[in-house]
């Protein structure tokens, strides 16, 4: 009897332990894998966000000059010629120019620049001029706003 009891007890203990161990391992592995996946996801989001914000922080540009133009090239129409200078250490990409005064407001993207440039990117310490067709109003305070691909915004005001 005792021999039979000992055999049964030893076997159930092993099985129970094995089952517990297996369950712990399975659950633990699952949890660690899930935590790792989450961590990697957060890390990649942090990488992307941090790089984006750092690049935005390092982006430096000025609107060097704004002049009314009696004709933007290839259109012969009145316009506004904006010269943008990259004073920072990173390349910038001009995506949008908004010109507005008390009577009107227009926003121009790359396709609206005259002539359509091959690239709207500006290397560090370089300048580029963009002409947009705009009916300049003499005597009105005109605001010119330049937006880059990283959503950096600079603006200036001129009046003629």
């Amino acid at each position: 009897m005792i021999f039979a009891r000992r055999r049964h007890r030893a076997l159930s203990t092993v099985v129970t332990t094995a089952m517990l161990l297996t369950a712990v391992v399975a659950i633990g592995t699952g949890l660690v894998a899930w935590a790792n996946t989450n961590s990697r996801t957060f890390e990649s989001i942090l990488v992307s966000s941090a790089a984006d914000k750092l690049n935005t922080l390092n982006e430096m540009l000025i609107i060097e000059n704004v002049t009314p133009s009696s004709k933007c090239p290839t259109t012969g129409l009145n316009g506004v010629n904006t010269t943008v200078t990259n004073t920072g250490t990173m390349g910038i990409n001009v995506t949008k120019i908004t010109v507005s005064d008390a009577t009107q407001s227009q926003t121009f993207t790359k396709s609206g620049f005259v002539p359509v440039p091959q690239t709207t990117g500006i290397n560090p310490h370089a300048s580029k001029s963009f002409c947009v067709v705009y009916n300049w109003q003499t005597g009105f305070l005109t605001t010119v706003q330049v937006t880059t691909g990283r959503n950096t915004l600079v603006s200036t005001q001129v009046m003629k």
Binding site: T13, V24, S39, L57, E64, S69, T85
Partner: protein, 398 residues
Amino acid sequence: MKSRRGLSSVVGAVFAIIALSTVIGYITYSMDVLNNYNQSVLIRTQQMIDIANEKSQVTSVSYVNNKFSIIVNNTGSLPINFTKIWITNKTAACTTYSCNINYVPNQVVVPGKGITLGQNMAGTLNTGKPYHIKLVTSRGNTSEFDVNSVGSAPVNIQLYALPSNVTNGYTTGLVMIVKNNGSGTLTNIVPSQPLAGAGVANYVLSANPIPPSYNILLPGSTAVFNWNATMTGKAGDFRTFTASLQNGFAGNTASTTVHVGTVSSVASAPLNIQLLALPVTVPNGFKSELVMVVTNNMSGTLTDIAPNALPTTSPGLTYTGSGTASCVAGSVSPAKLTLAPGSTGVFSWDVTATGEGADSCTYTITQPLQGGYSQTVSAKMTITVVSLSSTTFAQNAG
């Protein structure tokens, strides 16, 4: 039993290590990202500080060979690299690309030094047009000013004739005062020759003003130009002059009128004459100033009036007190004056007074001006003696 218990601990420890490693790795990476961000902020802050420390001042602008000669001084603590100069023709109808000249001077100026910009630009300029100039540096700072832009807005112009009433054949001075009451710097201020307008008096105007121009006029500052105008005509004739600036704002002028007046005589009537001792009390051996103030209260100009010599004895010069007083006058200054109607002139003498305390000398003049009307004026100066305070030291006896 013991070996099985040990196995679960190992499994748990492995999981713990994996979890901890992941957490530590993530935290380390986050710290690194934060460190990069801090570095970027510091760099950006330093760039902004550099931008603020970059300072320059335009000290002179002129035309040389029909190009600008702009002298800029570096008044900051960092070298400045001028990367672009924009020259915009401000004429209202000028909107073509040629009205906006820009070129790269590619010149660096160190702190404390100056540099001349503008001479290397291609082409030439129309010096009669107003221009707006913008200097751009590598850090993005800009310095803007206008050249000969007196035409963009009226400035404060005044024109005076000093005196406004002159006798036939005499010269008056036309003084034009230009004040920059705007917020921008005006450059190359050049007056036009005053135009003669209404009136029949003849005149001879000096060919050029003195000075001929001002290179630069800062906000709030004033430029003064002078011409001489010799007037001829009979009493009552006049001539109006109008002054303006070259390329000035339309209608921005100032006028004044010069009258050819009569000449009055100092002998014809008493004038407003005062004789003053300044100061009234003078220490022994020091100088006081005897001042004769003459106001022309006549209708005509008094020309070349001169005072009579001061008396040196009684009754013109009298003393009171100890009897040792003495007042000795020097020569008069100025020797003669011309006074327009209503104007005031001053003759003065230095008088050295000596004597004892409370002594006085009194000047009494019955005909102050040479050939003038008899009228009595007097002034008294009192002599004082200044004694220094003394200190008596106690002495030990024996």
